[in-house]
Subunit: 134 residues, 3 copies
């Protein structure tokens, strides 16, 4: 699986759950992900760098997925999808953030490509409050 | 062609036509695409999920291409480029949508990478009104 | 190095310098790059297509990196990183541009994949005023 594999994601599924399901099903633990398509709603995180916590924006309307970009690595031994989303609304304005549970797929296509070398493990990083590659 | 190939796209060409031409010329039918650069104008689609039709925004000014992300698959047996664009204007604000005919290249570079496995065929999907991978 | 390699980028480093350092260290001269993460500040270029010069926007606040997309090629014989950034602020609004020196990393992960075929050389292009692939 050295070239990207293309996947159609299921309508009305949660975007992160749909990607997680592919990773579990295919045994993907170390990879890059891209996504385009459309969502019927989104939940977008923004990280408060001083407070070390995410706030989320709920966007309850149809949106184009201009770009979903992310990775699969291991967190506590399990495949973990980290995905950032750029979206647009009916006016063409762009918005986005860290993909949270609650992004509902209208139609989406994903490309997943296995990465080279050893798997990456997420470990807690004191300086940022995030789980980063060790 | 398992790693990405890099292409300079021609000035003043239509973005989708330029990518189509590469696919025809190189026999690419199953691939991922990324693009960065600048456009002198853009035409951006937004899909009305309830009405099952696209509306388009014409943006008649210089724009940076922050991210073009897409795929090549087969529609009615022919290579078909599906591309979503994130753009920025002179203020730095981002906008975007589904790339429509009418995106004129100022300067652009594309990376095209052949995907793994069998080609994807677009077939009409009743639930969304879109041509999705079967 | 035909599949993407994943890299954690160092906190507080300049984004372009961090990517340059990886390319120098690993001998990467012909590649694609993607980045997601967060910046503590950004410097974003917009190219004035008529005047053949960049203007820059300084954005002095925390930002999510929704998508960094770019390439490594050769400019005057040296590896040169060309990167476009889509960012979001605390409201979820997206902004972006051509990555300039002055993008400070809060946390970031990059995927770098060697491209196929001969290296690309940037040469001055009269029509655009840019250094494009010859």
């Amino acid at each position: 699986m050295s070239a990207p594999h293309l996947f159609r994601l299921p309508k009305d599924a949660d975007l992160l759950e749909a990607l997680d399901a592919i990773c579990r099903d295919k045994g993907i633990t170390h990879a890059t992900i891209t996504v385009i398509g459309a969502l019927s709603r989104a939940s977008l995180g923004f990280y408060l760098q001083d407070e070390h916590r995410y706030v989320s924006h709920e966007v309850d309307k149809p949106l184009e997925v201009l770009a979903g970009l992310g990775s699969v690595s291991l967190k506590e031994g399990q495949p973990f999808v980290h995905l950032h989303l750029t979206l647009s609304d009916a006016t063409g304005a762009a918005l986005g953030g860290h993909a949270m549970p609650g992004c509902r797929i209208f139609a989406a296509e994903a490309a997943i490509q296995t990465a080279e070398g050893p798997e990456k493990h997420r470990v807690f990083d004191e300086a940022t409050g995030l789980f980063l590659w060790g």
